[in-house]
């Protein structure tokens, strides 16, 4: 983990209240999809944790939804601005455990790290399958990005306004759910947990430090207490206690 400055290159509203931000700077320490960065914003005491959606050696992309004053402010940052970030944080996904064609499930704003995971897998020659769940068609994001990787995500919406109607687990009913990678709201994670054989789950928690110092995000697992920020955000199915 380092404290460093990233320069904002672009900010695009890709859906109502959802923004894609490209940042440049040294990204060579990022070691796995699912890791995140913790961003300092003027006027806010705590940093804001946001997942890395994709990256290369000199840049990274984040995708975030404006839910409060911090993400609002982030969406209004001008290109050219330097952002103080701590990165990379967290363990990220382990690509090696799910075979060559694992199932990836993302829900809502949990999709960006799933995209990063799919991208890394494709780079490794794997052929991930993707289910992407949303509330309604106005929430659907990153479809083209997946297509660009050669992946046709199965899209589900709760109201059926795009793709299949229903939840991601509805969509997974006929799929091979032997090993699943999942990121999304906690009820979704729980539902996926219940139907899959094995897998990895990315969690969120309110954080102070984001790098393991304060125990602000610590939760109980079958293998002892784990800090979501440092020992997670990705937990293995076998260790999770709901």
């Amino acid at each position: 983990m380092k404290q460093q400055y990233l320069t904002v290159r672009s900010v695009t509203e890709i859906q109502k209240n959802i923004y894609k931000m490209k940042l440049s700077g040294n990204c060579t320490e990022i070691s796995a999809p699912g890791q995140f960065i913790n961003i300092r914003l003027a006027g806010f005491y705590l940093r804001r944790p946001i997942s890395i959606a994709s990256w290369d050696a000199a840049s990274l992309t984040i995708v975030f939804r404006t839910v409060g004053a911090g993400t609002e402010a982030l969406s209004r940052v001008e290109p050219g601005t330097s952002l103080d970030v701590l990165m990379p944080l967290g363990n990220g996904f382990d690509l090696t455990k799910g075979g060559s064609s694992p199932l990836l499930i993302g829900g809502g704003i949990g999709l960006p790290p799933v995209y990063g995971l799919a991208r890394a897998m494709v780079q490794e020659g794997m052929t991930p399958r993707v289910i992407a769940g949303f509330n309604t068609k106005n929430d659907v994001i990153l479809t083209k990005d997946f297509n660009f990787l050669g992946i046709e995500p199965v899209i589900t919406t709760m109201d059926g306004s795009e793709g299949l109607r229903g939840t991601v687990t509805d969509a997974a009913a006929n799929a091979d759910t032997g090993y699943v990678y999942a990121c999304g709201p906690e009820p979704m994670l729980k539902a996926v947990y219940d139907i899959c054989g094995d897998g990895q789950f990315s969690f969120e928690a309110r954080m102070a430090c984001g790098f393991g110092a304060c125990m602000g995000c610590s939760c109980k697992t079958k293998y002892g207490y784990k800090r979501i920020c440092k020992d997670g955000p990705v937990l293995q199915k076998e260790e999770i206690i709901w």
Binding site: M1, Y45, A205, R206, A208, C214, Y225
Partner: protein, 303 residues
């Protein structure tokens, strides 16, 4: 050349800057970022006799210029701390450390103090009395002079190391508690612990913290901390480690002028992991600007 050394009950600190208990773990995360030996000392995470899982999540809430935490003294318990954490700490930090201990009964404190007394690297035992006393209706030890004195006496009896009582700011009269601890044999005082606060998620109509209330720390509490350190310093003769909202070298100077011999830096480490090294680096320049040759000369200069 300015001199940043301060003396604390026989210990000589290279500088007065000490990471505060609970905001620095056992130093491991920070040792990856900088050489810990630049620090005056380290107050490590509060230890209780048994392992504690702490409170349910969420445990963190944001505030104006600060944060609430309801971590709930999560720690691996006395034995694990002594057999593992302190051994690891000794590898990355080579000066005396401050053992922060907590408890829910006088016996808890005694148990921890006894064990810490045997730890060679422990230079000071810092007794966190902001914890609820389960034998006294859950009222915090630190909010009642008699309970504070009782803990002080009990701990004092079982160790030869300097005992610093860490006071709660959630009291009517900090001077009264300070005097009670001094009279009961404390070698020094640490203050302030966090202010009790609460935030509500107005969308969900629930407290942000699962535990409802939590401890407020960060720059927002600095003026209260300066006031309490000033009041305590004028009430007792024993040295004080001042803390609460410190994040700059200027804050260190202000806290020392109020009466602190050394300071702790808490929440600042969390939002800026380089807070302590930055302060330590800036301190000499600031001292020159303020015409301070020996840092100790400003301790309690405010009448």
């Amino acid at each position: 050349m300015v001199n940043t050394q301060v003396h604390l009950c026989g210990l000589t600190l290279d500088n007065p800057v000490i990471p505060a208990s609970g905001t620095f773990g056992y130093g491991r995360e920070f040792a990856e970022l900088y050489d810990l030996d630049i620090l005056g000392s380290i107050s490590f995470k509060g230890t209780t006799p048994e392992e504690r899982g702490g409170n349910p999540l969420p445990r963190i809430a944001e505030c104006p210029q600060g944060m609430l935490n309801s971590v709930g003294l999560q720690n691996p318990g006395l034995e694990e701390v002594c057999t593992r954490e302190l051994k690891e700490l000794a590898k990355i930090y080579h000066k005396p450390v401050i053992a922060n201990i907590s408890g829910f009964s006088v016996e808890d404190y005694v148990t921890c103090a006894r064990a810490m007394d045997r730890e060679e690297q422990v230079g000071i035992i810092e007794v966190n009395i902001s914890c609820p006393n389960v034998h006294n209706g859950g009222m915090a030890f630190g909010t009642d002079p008699a309970s504070a004195a009782e803990v002080t006496k009990a701990v004092r009896r079982v160790t030869d190391k300097p005992v610093f009582m860490k006071l709660s700011p959630n009291v009517t009269d900090i001077a009264e508690i300070a005097r009670a601890c001094e009279a009961a044999g404390a070698d020094g005082l640490s203050l302030i612990n966090t202010l009790l606060g609460m935030r509500i998620d107005i969308q969900r109509r629930q407290p942000v913290l699962a535990n409802k209330m939590g401890g407020y720390s960060g720059p927002a509490i600095f003026p209260v901390a300066v006031r309490m350190v000033y009041q305590a310093a004028r009430a007792v003769r024993i040295p004080i480690i001042g803390m609460g909202g410190i994040s700059t070298a200027e804050d260190v100077i202000e806290m020392m002028m109020a009466g602190a011999t050394a300071v702790q830096v808490g929440a600042a480490n969390l939002v800026d992991p380089f807070a302590c090294p930055n302060i330590i680096e800036t301190l000499p320049t600031l001292m020159e600007k303020l015409n301070i040759r020996n840092l100790e000369e400003i301790i309690g200069v405010i009448e």
